[in-house]
Symmetry: C2
Subunit: 666 residues, 2 copies
């Protein structure tokens, strides 16, 4: 159900309202001596129509769940967003914040950052991410409606995207997925200004964007982006179609700037005092910088509270939900996991300890996910077209299809980047914990979006299988080498590499407990023994622990992760046969280990012992744990195509090599 | 000029020729117990038409320059390529290689690898890369024709791409660029089998691909992929248009398999003995595995030498080139740099040492590129729509436009991933050394293609600017943190971070001298002093060196890169004032330093001294050089939006902090 909105902004003051955005943007960029005035000035008319007539929001209660989402995919135009927040009356953006644009400690960062200002539904700036996040929002909305009904979940997702967003490949993945799922409440307003940073878009682009979106099953329209009534008609139409909608808004970048309008010169640098003065004359704007005339501000503030009644109506409907569904709604809104899930995880661990299966950790992950998806309905899975290899589909997760969003598994297609960015959107929306899968080597394809998960602190789970040369015959294009190091280098990302079913479940538990950032599970293709035979505490949550202490004096500490823990245990036996006491440390998560207190870390790493790390991946970074007296058994080159065991042999990643390395250092 | 080809494959034996591919593929996968039979079986008819009637190639002289290029973008179908190599008579793929498919030491790797088999024009497997490489081939061909004339450079580039390639975002970037540049000799044969790994493509895809390609200014057609005459007509047509061409070939995956044809079950696993036996019956193929009936093999071998006369004609035309152009052709073909370039570089260094400019290294890079592009005409530059920020456009590099390919600068648009993959194609084609630019943080967007540069060992130069928090106000979305570590972890990639104009030129020299892999230059936005005041040897080529020795006894070694060398030098002064002798080591390239002999490395790192590293980036990996007794001044979190100096202060990356770290460790 769509809540009707009063149209409070009469056409008579539209121009003033739009000009308020333009000058707040231009003046703030001028004061900051950096920023992007061209886009806010160009899109001010479109934004004014959207925020004053259509967008369902309440500036005084900005985070109520059923608000329309607005995503500024062209994040460099951040002053558009901050101007709108100030004008409509968000409490966290006063005029001082505008004056402090891009300064240390201000919420008004150079690009809009999730968590800094309430109006930023997502962090944007890296192009194309926002439009893909928005697909996640729209999909989450559809899923939410299927679960709670349109009385409770029924909102639009609007996007402003620029040429850059549409040139990025990720946009194709996103729009293709949106068209497939008929996300009819997704409306993209394209800032079609024909300008990119290098000059006219025709320097590098000959696409017919409307035809392109049509080809992906979107509704498309083109309007004069400076004609408010035309914009309004286009949005009205877009809200009625059964497809996602693209509205190409033909605009003039830097609209109003007397000599620079329509030029890339307005894109990413202050206009200069003279140009701004000229714009004031040209647009008839007499106010000083950061001053908005009272009547104009009043119109804007009215727009800002326009959605209050819709919010109140929604709260009324929420109050009438039956108690069980209301409790579930509150649980999801507060992002609490359901009762019983941890007990289910514990039971799983007891079972595998009893049965000691020989599973690849991807298989262990599947079995763990069977338990977890049954216990935690907000887990929303998927794979970038490798479901049967990633083993991410469970009995509890039914596919989400274009005609039925009641399931919880998404066939993302061969769209790793789109998947990750859509997951960010799902995680930002209320109520879902997304997990998505591909091969570990293809984290490269989704890395920009994974970085955004980490930067925003989103609980997104990356289930990455086929995590080493152990995948064998597919060869070096498919064998990750540098990926674990590259991922461990990302701030605020937990990288887990479990060694058996117990650790796999422990890592999932730690990932689900991590509410302030993404987690990545690195899982192998080849079978492994179950080696953890106690589950009294989540040892993986400490990052590393002594899996097998030395018999006799510990002279050597063998540190291993994932599939190489088995090798380390064998090397321990080889060393024992030579009278050398060696402990095996399993280290499923560097980041969590580094958070432990120094005494624990020292006890695990065995100060004074020879430390040998083994991991079928780049040795890069392992110096942290083995020190200059230790050694790392790993890779310094790309892999090769052959059966897995032979690849391990070829690269000398064997129990014998580990034992020899230790003996060589003693 | 297009060389006409005799049509040697009569329709009467087309089916046998195609079935030869099918069974070689199915039997090799069966023997290897892994691989992808479905695609070669499905596309056998298309490949037979292409290789027996159209493709200009000479199996006995496979690498002559003006051959048509064939790219198997759907690289998992590698057995299609190996079967074609064997059937047409390439010397490096005999039947034994087919039997050794995917085994240790075989050239017939799981996915086609450049340098392993002559028929592989590029390494493929990661989806979408091949089609983008092919855009690079076609663009290089157009550039070559503009430089040497159509008598010398005039060939087509054919691609077989699958649904996965077209779903990947990179394909959009590539096809958009190809359409813009009217790459009329690029012909993509799409294996339109409606099957992806998860099942039918309709699980995740509703795109009208023909409309999508049309929107990017391609010529499009649809044919029955099992009707050889229809395929031939479509290719004939595609060769005559003035646009790149997409031919959708509707095929049945696993064609001929009695129960699995048309199903994803044929995609990525052996068919099984029974299914293959059934296919033999169904297709009337009586031969044993790996046996091709004499007449069929003869037809194929005839196809393999069909292009010999075209090659000979081309060699004749090449012989008639005037001597100067011939010498230039040979130089480029042998990938030798022109005389005089090193002297020009040396003169540049002498000049900046005399003038000591305060330049950002991106500015130093621009000045260096002015010299290098004037001296080395094969340098082909570009930027992903950040030309004015990356400073990669020089006087010598005129833009390549759709109507004029005589220039050497490519406006890639906001398509980092496409840019990198196109550069791989340019580098694989004879005669060009591509360099391309974006912000360092956006290496994440192009990482899959950068990995392919490294895996293939291609001389591609990545010019990455705005390389730290020093970019200031744009904030954490644009500030690289983990990127240097992530890039250093990639095998066979040289990562350079020069500190001033002398080092910048030295790094370019080292990058150009590196003929077996890509190089990446990490360049800053903020101004820096010129600190290297001698240019007698290329010290950057050693990876690291003592820039300023300690006065008195060296107790401390300060190791820095790029913009932080200035800080290290200031810290050295602070320590000197406290009576502590400290040396400053500039370390522009870890990889080259690690290749030096141990005594040099020890002398640089100052064994027994306290070692402090400073880099405005993640500290990850620096333990290698500072050891457990040292310290790293750097970042462990994302950056923030503020003026650059304040960001440095905020994160404690200052000369004082470096000096204090050293004092604390003494």
């Amino acid at each position: 159900m769509t809540v009707p909105h009063a149209k409070v902004a009469s056409p008579t003051n539209h121009a003033d309202m739009a000009n308020a955005i333009r000058f707040l943007a231009a003046d703030a960029v001028e004061k900051a001596k950096s920023g992007h005035p061209g886009m806010p000035m160009g899109m001010a008319d479109v934004a004014t129509v959207l925020f004053s007539r259509f967008l369902k929001f309440d500036a005084k209660t900005p985070r109520w769940s059923d608000r329309d989402r607005f995503v500024l995919s062209a994040g460099h135009g951040s002053m558009l967003l901050y101007a709108l927040a100030y004008l409509t009356g968000y409490d966290d953006v006063d005029v001082e914040q505008l004056k402090q644009f891009r300064q240390l400690g201000a919420r008004t960062a150079g690009h809009p950052e999730y968590g800094h200002v309430a109006i930023a539904e997502t962090t944007t700036g890296p192009l194309g991410q926002g439009i893909a996040n928005a697909v996640g929002f729209a999909l989450a909305e559809k899923i939410g409606e299927a679960r709670f009904g349109a009385d409770i979940v029924d909102h639009y997702t609007y996007v402003i995207a620029g040429d850059g967003c549409l040139m990025e490949g990720i946009s194709q993945e996103a729009i293709s997925l949106a068209g497939h799922h008929k996300l009819s409440k997704l409306i993209v307003l394209w800032d079609d200004n024909e300008i990119c940073i290098d000059g006219r878009t025709s320097l590098a682009l000959s696409d017919d964007q409307l035809a392109r979106f049509s080809a992906s099953q979107w509704d498309v329209a083109r309007v004069d982006g400076h004609d408010p009534e035309a914009i309004a008609r286009a949005i009205e139409h877009a809200r009625t179609t059964d497809k996602p909608s693209l509205i190409a808004c033909r605009t003039v970048i830097g609209y109003g700037a007397p000599t620079k309008a329509g030029s890339e010169k307005t894109h990413g640098a202050p206009l200069g005092a003279e140009e701004i003065a000229g714009a004031r004359v040209k647009l008839g704007w007499a106010s000083e910088p950061f001053v908005v005339p009272g009547p104009v501000l009043e119109s804007w503030r009215n727009a800002g509270v326009r959605g209050a009644s819709a919010r109140q109506s929604w709260e009324g409907r929420l109050a009438k939900l039956d108690p069980a569904r209301r409790a579930e709604w509150d649980r999801l809104a507060e992002r609490r996991l359901p009762a019983g899930w941890r007990e289910a995880a514990q039971a799983f661990k007891a079972k595998v300890i009893a049965e000691k299966p020989k599973w690849a950790t991807r298989k262990a992950s599947q079995e763990a996910l069977e338990v977890l998806t049954a216990a935690i309905p907000e887990l929303t899975g998927g794979s970038a077209d490798l479901t049967g290899s990633n083993l991410t589909k469970t009995k509890a997760t039914l596919p989400i299809t274009p005609s039925d969003a009641s399931g919880s598994y998404i066939h993302y297609g061969v769209r790793e980047h789109g998947m990750a960015a859509v997951m960010n959107g799902l995680a930002l929306h209320d109520g879902l914990i997304p997990y998505g899968a591909t091969f570990l080597v293809f984290t490269d394809y989704l890395r920009p979006a994974l970085r955004m998960s980490a930067l925003m602190g989103l609980r997104v789970l990356y289930v990455m299988t086929h995590d080493s040369i152990g995948l064998g015959e597919d060869g070096p294009t498919h064998q990750p080498v540098e990926h674990l190091a590259s991922l461990r280098a990302i701030p605020n990302l937990l990288v887990f590499r479990p060694c058996d079913p117990v650790e796999t479940m422990e890592c999932y538990e730690a990932a689900l407990d991590n509410r302030t950032g993404p987690s990545l599970l690195s899982l192998c293709r080849q079978n492994l023994p179950t080696v953890r035979l106690d589950a009294s505490e989540n040892k993986s949550a400490k990052g590393a622990y002594v899996l097998a202490e030395a018999e006799g004096t510990r002279k050597v500490t063998l540190i291993a992760t994932g599939s190489e823990v088995e090798l380390a245990l064998k090397a321990r036996d080889l060393l024992k046969a030579k009278g050398v006491g060696a402990a095996v440390v399993s280290m499923p998560c560097w980041e969590l280990f580094d958070q432990q207190d120094p005494s624990y870390r020292k006890s695990v790493l065995g100060e004074g012992t020879v430390r040998i790390a083994v991991e079928a991946a780049s040795t890069f970074g392992w110096e942290r744990y083995v020190g200059p007296e230790g050694a790392v058994v790993g890779l310094t080159s790309f892999g090769l195509s052959a059966p897995a065991e032979q690849v391990y042999q070829h690269f000398g990643i064997t129990a014998e090599a580990v034992a020899d390395a230790a003996l060589g250092k003693l």
